[in-house]
Symmetry: C2
Subunit: 237 residues, 2 copies
Amino acid sequence: MATRQRGRPRSFDRLTALEQATMAFWEHGYETTSVSDLTRAMGISAPSLYAAFGDKRTLFEEVVETYAVSYGAYGGRALAEEETARAGIGRLLSEAAELFTEPGHPRGCLMISAAVNCSTPEVEESLRARRNANLASFEARIRRDVERGALPPDTDAAALARLSGAVLQGMSQQARDGAEKEELAAVARLAMRAWPAEAPPAGAEAEVTGRAATGPPSPEAPVPGAPAPETPAGRGA
Amino acid sequence: MATRQRGRPRSFDRLTALEQATMAFWEHGYETTSVSDLTRAMGISAPSLYAAFGDKRTLFEEVVETYAVSYGAYGGRALAEEETARAGIGRLLSEAAELFTEPGHPRGCLMISAAVNCSTPEVEESLRARRNANLASFEARIRRDVERGALPPDTDAAALARLSGAVLQGMSQQARDGAEKEELAAVARLAMRAWPAEAPPAGAEAEVTGRAATGPPSPEAPVPGAPAPETPAGRGA
DNA sequence: GTCTTTCCATAGCGACCACTACGGAATTGA
DNA sequence: TCAATTCCGTAGTGGTCGCTATGGAAAGAC
């Protein structure tokens, strides 16, 4: 890649167009967003779209990938940065309440809602796989805390992960159904009460009655906050 | 309506055809199920479909209505028959785990998934209204228990209702994503742990936390299994 | 300038969409 | 039997779908 490319350079910004396509898909879903909707939203013509992004399905996959990186990364960060699985998922749900209702972009989560009832099985399957991968990352994070002793040994990690994913998905639909940020935040807060009593993260003194801290706990106590990436595809479960 | 109708009688059973249309819409959603999909599933030709059911949208509305009555009624019954809101919603979620994964029909809930990303706003809005009505019926049922003293006075009825709806919606999507009955049942069971401690249902010993009787001080104590329909449109929230 | 390369707008492809005009077949009441 | 009435299969409506062939305009290299 030495010389600059020869011919006429393209007259639109590829990343801007991609973001506009993201908004369109996010709002209306894969199937319901037609190519002519896309060209209108992106401000380019159909041949330009096909030259720059391949076909509609390839464009959607690229949209999902950038969405997972730029938005879904919140979830991965919450899980990785927080001391415990409980704090991580609590923060993830709380941030989701904000993200799902934030002005400036469509409501809810693209990975959750954009390929429901999709007649292209590959597309539906692609997002389903991302959702299930995130469920698996929830479960792994919880299981780690169980093994570490931060959660009771009889904790059902799979069920807790699935519940967290279900709440997240329900919050997404309710955001699209008109729920406001505070309402979803209350749901997120309440959902954390289903968690078992949190054991002391490490060497600290004990404490008994269930239902411990909900918010971000000790800034940095023991256990040097696992660098773990843990979630390959961002939020969405 | 005295005399029998004159001409040639229709050669298919209307209710059977309606049920086959229900299965098609349930599986693929409103938008993605084409009229030719419907005629194939129902075993009739397009003109017969239009003569018997009006247009596609009218057929869908009729499908939704019968679905709400025959399937969604489970939810209304659970809410009406159980002693407490907690028991009612607990039973509703547990029955949903079964219904959403039962063989013999598509997975998940038609009212939750069939009009996501729908390009016909009236259809999308119609199911959204049913979901929100069910949320409201959850909230009313919970609020009644709070006023009755069966739940603590500081219970956030709206948030608890919304959480229940979110879990239900998430369970529907996870059923479609492949979750099995036991997994969803575990989610349902776990979700009920978010509920506050249940107070004795009626005239039992006093309780502490402030605030004297607010609402109607439960004239008839334990409230026998309320005949109330309570939910006009069945499950779906 | 000239040539080469690439972009992009017009215009149109076949396929499918929801929906319906038509006419023969079937079943009634008289 | 004869109309009257209704059903339903064939075939086709205009419209939109995802996608692309063509060809002029624009911007580099020389």
